[in-house]
């Protein structure tokens, strides 16, 4: 299988704050990789580097064989069209309706589309996330779960080959979480994407991840299937797991 994302010995710090200290990660075609890790370990920083929003201090970041930090603006934009980025807080444009949000990347990147073609593309993605009735609402009128799904739909409209999800289920109730998990799995099948899914939610990790990687001290110390990683004896991983376990017990 082809590698879509290759990260080797990646370092990133902000001033005196060291965040990533030698990250290695490969993501293969049509694979979902779940990234776990405590708050502030640099998970968001990692995917921002992949999308070229932040530049690394050292190391290699390749997407589809192209080294992201070395691309010029034009090449980077061409690459970004193949990457869908779902932000931690959805990042919907709050001065635009849902429809305008969805059209925004489309009409600016594909020239000379007819109104009918645009409407068709919008309809397709909004049906895909099951929120057709919200098309003319403003983002402020949507619930958290709806916002997440519209955010995902906005990236799907460009037919991405890679999806980067930043905590797609954070702050949602268990049923909505489950719907988002299903959506991510559907996206993987329908668009044949490879994805990085950042999450704190072990149910999400288990449901969506083909592989799990845990970020600790600026590195991926453990990678493997969900069972492999969590049969590991490292007490810090166990505690992560146990904490989630206790919490889910409490919710039941």
């Amino acid at each position: 299988m082809e590698k879509t994302i290759e990260i080797k010995d990646l370092y990133k710090s902000f001033g005196s704050l060291d965040v990533l200290l030698g990250v290695n990660l490969d993501v293969y075609e049509n694979e979902n990789v779940v990234v776990l890790g405590r708050s502030g370990t640099g998970k968001s920083v990692l995917i921002k580097i992949i999308a070229g929003l932040l530049s690394p201090d050292l190391g290699q970041v390749k997407v589809f064989g192209q080294s992201v930090p070395d691309l010029d603006k034009k090449e980077l934009n061409a690459l970004r069209l193949k990457i869908g980025f779902s932000f931690q807080n959805s990042a919907l444009y709050d001065s635009m309706t849902v429809r305008e949000n969805l059209e925004f990347p489309l009409v600016r990147n594909i020239k000379n589309m007819t109104r009918a073609e645009i409407d068709k593309a919008v309809e397709e993605v909004i049906d895909g996330v099951g929120l057709k009735k919200t098309l003319d609402q403003m983002p402020s009128e949507l619930s958290g779960g709806q916002r997440k799904r519209i955010g995902i739909a906005r990236t799907l409209i460009m037919n991405p080959k890679i999806m980067l999800y930043d905590e797609p289920t954070a702050g949602l109730d268990p049923i909505t979480c489950q719907e988002i998990n299903e959506l991510m799995n559907e996206v993987k099948e329908r668009y044949r994407t490879s994805s990085i899914i950042i999450t704190h939610d072990l149910t999400c990790a288990k449901e969506t991840g083909d592989r799990v990687a845990v970020l600790f001290d600026g590195k991926f110390k453990y990678q493997g299937t969900f069972e492999e990683v969590f049969s590991n004896a490292d007490p810090r991983i166990r505690s992560f797991y146990d904490y989630n376990f206790i919490e889910s017990k409490l919710q039941d």
Partner: protein, 261 residues
């Protein structure tokens, strides 16, 4: 891999200040580069013009009228000493066209428009909407900044012109009641006293004030630090900085245009 914090060249404050100056300069350069490359976001530009014009119209109407009216009223006693109240229309017209209209309009707009742009872009920055634009291969400078800077550069001169008209109306009302001057005589006296250079100067001022307000608002918004506090700070500091720059520009432009008198 931990890096030592680099030693300041002068002192930390001065370094920060110089760095801020450099960053602002780079930002302006980038905006100019983007303004002349790629597609122009015409719809967003029109929306911004409409927004800027509409948002400040009521306040400018009120302030302009009061300025003209009160200025006339306050000037009357001094002119009366020389028995020269018939000069009131000329005096006030000169004051309004040369100085008051562009300045009053711009100060109002830096409060109303500058803070609005700073807060809007600042909140887009901290909620990652600007990042979202960037990753969808849309240039946020072109979409957000070029449109706003151009809109304020064009709209604020128009608003200044409107402000001058309203202020003259305030003045006319005052002299019509007190001196019984009719409209025709009022305008004849008023416009006789201003020359083309006055108008040109006023236009240059209004254009550069408008540019400053838009640019500073966008710059502060784009550099908002994280959190809701950052948004407030961006809004606030864009007002302070643009007012400061407006005064500097006022002095500079008046000095330069006076060479041509």
């Amino acid at each position: 891999m931990s890096r030592e914090a680099t030693k300041p060249v002068f002192s930390e404050k001065i370094d920060d200040w110089l760095l801020g100056f450099y960053n602002a300069f780079e930002f302006v350069k980038l905006v100019f580069k983007e303004a002349f490359s790629g597609d122009f976001e015409f719809n967003e530009f029109v929306r911004q013009c409409y927004h800027i014009g509409l948002r400040s119209l009521p306040l400018i109407s009120l302030t302009g009228f009061v300025t003209g009216f009160v200025f006339t009223k306050q000037s009357r006693p001094s002119l009366m000493e020389f028995g020269a109240t018939s000069w009131l229309p000329s005096l006030v017209t000169i004051a309004i066209v040369r100085a008051l209209a562009p300045l009053v309009t711009s100060l109002i707009c830096s409060g109303k428009i500058g803070s609005g742009i700073g807060a809007e872009l600042g909140s887009m920055k901290v909620t990652e909407q600007i990042d979202a634009m960037e990753v969808s291969a849309v240039n946020p400078i072109r979409y957000l900044v070029v449109t706003r800077v151009l809109a304020s550069t064009i709209t604020i001169p128009i608003l200044s012109f409107y402000c001058a008209l309203v202020a003259l109306a305030g003045c006319f009302l005052n002299v019509a009641v007190n001196e019984g001057t009719n409209l025709f005589a009022f305008f004849e006296k008023g416009f006789d006293s201003i020359i083309f250079l006055d108008v040109i100067t006023a236009v240059i001022k209004a254009v550069s004030f408008g540019f400053t307000i838009g640019m500073i608002g966008c710059y502060k918004g784009f550099n908002a630090s994280n959190g809701t506090q950052g948004v407030g700070k961006a809004a606030n500091s864009s007002v302070v900085l643009s007012m400061f720059l407006i005064f500097i520009e006022e002095i500079f432009i008046v000095q330069v245009t006076n060479w041509f008198r």
